[in-house]
């Protein structure tokens, strides 16, 4: 139930992003992360993976709007938004800290010194990091513009 609500909330949050970080990007990251997990034969918590994927760029549009040219702050903004959204949709409370950590650490392309660069061994976070990186290199984005 919270999953459907989460997807609706993510669609709304991402609808104004002009740079391709939209709901389709979030869905691709989720599907790609699952595919990587399957190939690695990794077990993971699907609620956590889905929530990180849906909300990892929720603060992207705010970053753009507030003049954060290279979106260094989008992970912090996304985590702030996610904290509110996860509570609203009734997401299991004990899983929220990992989701927020995953959002804060999803983008390894931003400068050293931010929370994103702290090493982690949490599988859901490692999967999202890889899926998001693959998205940046892949050609799929052609079809979104």
């Amino acid at each position: 139930m919270h999953r459907a609500k989460l997807e609706i909330a993510a669609k709304e949050l991402l609808k104004n992003d002009p740079t391709g970080h939209d709901i389709y990007h979030s869905m691709r990251v989720y599907n790609l992360a699952k595919e990587i997990a399957k190939k690695e034969d990794w077990q993971f918590d699907d609620d956590i993976l889905f929530a990180i994927a849906m909300l990892h760029d929720a603060g992207h549009e705010r970053s753009i709007r507030t003049g954060d040219k290279y979106r260094y702050k989008h992970m912090e903004y996304s985590a702030e938004i996610a904290k509110r959204v996860l509570a609203e949709v009734g997401f299991p409370g004990q899983k929220i800290p990992v989701v927020l950590q995953g959002i804060l650490q999803h983008d390894q392309t931003k400068p050293w010194g931010l929370a994103n660069r702290i090493p982690t061994d949490i599988k859901e976070i490692l999967l999202i990091q890889d899926a998001d990186n693959l998205e940046a290199i892949g050609i799929l984005g052609w079809y979104e513009f």
Partner: protein, 78 residues
Amino acid sequence: MVRVLVFNIQAGTPLYKPELSLTKDLEKSRLESAIHNLIWHLSLDNNLNTKAAKKMVQERKIRARNFLDQFLKEWNGA
């Protein structure tokens, strides 16, 4: 690839600055040219955590490199 390009162009970064090296100081030049940022993104496989992703990225990098090769050929009038 397109997301990287759009990301930079939307931020007001030029598409390409031929005076910048394509191999050196990419950490710096990626913020000055969308194409340099794309080249820098091709090194993201160093950040990948899983063997599966490292394998999957190889095909994507071939396509990206083909795009870059064609871009540079056209830029130089070929």
